[in-house]
Symmetry: C2
Subunit: 363 residues, 2 copies
Amino acid sequence: MLLHDESKPKMSSNDPFPRINRRALVSTLAVLPALCGTLLPISAPAQTVTQGGALPSWNEGPAKQAIVDFVRATVDRSSPSYVSPEERVATFDQDGTLWVEHPMYTQVVYCLERVPAVVAKKPELKNAEPFKTVLSGNREAMAKLTLRDLEKILFATLTGMPVEEFNAEVKTWIETARDHRWKRPYTELVYQPMLEVMRHLRDNTYKTYIVTGGGQDFVRVYAEKVYGVPPEQVVGTAGATKYAYGKDGKPFLTKEPKLLLNDNNAGKAEGIHLMIGRRPTAAFGNSGGDREMLEWTGAGSGARLKMLVLHDDAAREYAYGPAQGLPNSKVGTFTQALYDEAKKNGWTVISMKNDWKRIFAFE
Amino acid sequence: MLLHDESKPKMSSNDPFPRINRRALVSTLAVLPALCGTLLPISAPAQTVTQGGALPSWNEGPAKQAIVDFVRATVDRSSPSYVSPEERVATFDQDGTLWVEHPMYTQVVYCLERVPAVVAKKPELKNAEPFKTVLSGNREAMAKLTLRDLEKILFATLTGMPVEEFNAEVKTWIETARDHRWKRPYTELVYQPMLEVMRHLRDNTYKTYIVTGGGQDFVRVYAEKVYGVPPEQVVGTAGATKYAYGKDGKPFLTKEPKLLLNDNNAGKAEGIHLMIGRRPTAAFGNSGGDREMLEWTGAGSGARLKMLVLHDDAAREYAYGPAQGLPNSKVGTFTQALYDEAKKNGWTVISMKNDWKRIFAFE
C-alpha cells in the first residue's frame, strides 16, 4: 500500500505536500525502477526479543494468538500442520505493514527532496518545470503538479545513474531525513510489534521476505539494518539495468527507466514466483495491493497465516480505511471490500489500536 | 553456455539432432520464459564430502589450489582477504559448468521430446508444421527446421500453462529421460568436482547460486535435489507470469510468452543485481555467456575467485573451444578470445582433462 487520498487523518498541519495528487503518485511510483543494496553496512537486526515472550509489544487477543499458534503448529514435527524448514517462507508488505505510509510514501518524499541535488548536477533543469516548482518550495504550486510532472521527478531521481551511486544517495538520505510528525528518521517509524513477528518467525527458521510495491533497490539499502532482511530477500518494484564499461575499463550497471516488475496487486504473486519460486506459508499486508499476495499464500495446502494490519489508531499513528467508515475504492487501500474478503477467507485483521501495546520502539 | 556448432566432437552417431541449427536454438532459448520449482520434493544434496579432503575428485594443481586458498583466506578472520558471512555469494553457470551441455542443451532436448504430449493436448497441431516434422522423427527433415519453427516449438512447450503444471511435466521428464551417450538421466551428467566445490563453499557459509542462461523455472525443478541449490537461489532466463482465478475461485499463475530477463552475457550481471542484490565473491562459468558475470565479480574489491571450465577431455566428456584450436566466435562459447581475457584478468582456467580425477559420480 502506498498513498491514499480517501483517508483524511487530522495531519494537515504536518503534511508537507497536502494537496499533491496521491493517487497519481501511487500509479507513477509503481512504474519506477529500483536501486541496489550492496553498499549497505551489514549489521545485526535492530530489534531483539526481550523478556516476556517473543511478542512483548502485543496485547493478548486473537491476532497474537494466531501468530503464536501458527508458528507452534508449523514447527512441531508431530503436528499435522508441520511445515518443513525450507518451505518456511514469510512475506511482508512494507508501506503501512512494517512502517508508516501516511501521509506519503517515504520513497516519494525521497524523490521530492532529491530534486535540489539533481538540479545541482544538471543546472539546465533549474528553470524547467516541474523542477522549478519543487525548488520554489511553494506548496500551493506544488499541489498543482500533474501526473506527468511527478513522473518526470521520479524518473530523474530514481533512474539514469549507476546503481552504486544511487545506493549511496539513498543511504545518506535515509540516515539524515526526518519525518514531519515525529521529527525522527523514517527508519524509526517501523512498527515494533511487526519487528517482533519477523524475529519470532526467523527464530523458528522462517525466512522473512519483504514484498513491497516500493522500489526494490531503495528498500534493499536499509532493509538489513532496519528489518534484519538481507538484500536477496527484498522483492519490490524493479526496473532494468544496463551493463557498460567505465573509462577505467571497469563494468558498472546503470538504472534504466524501464519497468521489469510492478510489484503491486497481482504483481506481488508474480514477483514472489519470479524472485522466490516458493509459495509463502505466511503473508502480511495492509491494503488492496496485498490482496493477491494473501490469496496466493492462502491457496496453498496446509497451514497458512494471512494477516492484514488495520490502521485504526488516530492517536498513536493514523486511522484510515474501514476504521474511518470510508467508501470502497479501486486503489490499493484497505477498503471495506478488502475487510470483507478478509473475513470471508479467514484472514486475521490486526487492530493497531487494540492488538499493539506500543507502536514504535521509541515510545 | 548453451550450444555450439563450432565444435565437432566425435559424437555424431549418438547425436539425436545432428544437423539442427544449434546457434539458432541458442538465440531462441535465450528468449524463453521459465517455470517454477514448488513441486520439487526437498531432499539433501546428492553428493557428500568424502574422506580425503573437501575436493577428492580434483588433482593437485593450480585450479584446486586456487579454490582451497580462496576459501581459506576469505573465512579466516585474521586474513586481509576476510569476507563477512553475508557477503559470501558464489554464482555458478549451469550448462557446461555444472553439467554436460553437449551436443545440445538439455532444456532444448526437453522441448523437442515434449512435442508429442503437446500435440496430444492440441490435436490441431498434429498436421501443422513444425510439429508434424518433429513427430515424424525424420532427422533429415528436422535438421531443416528454421529458427521460426524452433521458436514455435519452444513457446508451445515452455509457455501457456500454469506454472505448477509445467513443474510437474519437467519433474516427470527429468526423472525418466535418458541421454544418448551414457544412457543415463541428465541429472547424473553433473560434474562431481563441481558438486564438491559447491559443497565446500557451503560448508564455509557461502551461499551458492546458479546463474544460468537456461529457464529459471526449468532449473528450479531439480536444482535442490541435484545441486543442493534451493529455488530462491536459482537465477535464470525468466518470463512473465499472469495471475488469474480458476473456476474454483483459486488463483493460479500462467507462464506467458514474454521475456523479463535474458540471463546471458550482460544479462547475467543484470540478473544478479535484480535477483540477489549483492556482487558475487566467487563466480564459475565456461563460456562467453559467462564473461560479464566474471567481470562483474572481479570488479569488486578484495579477494574474488573467477574460474572457467575448459572442455578439453574428448575421451571422458567432450573437447571444444580453444582446446580444439577453433576460431573465435560471436556466440556464447569458450573461445580463444575468452581464454585470452581469462589470462589477462587472472581468471583461473579449469582443465577437465588435467584437473579432474573423475568427471561424473557414476565413473
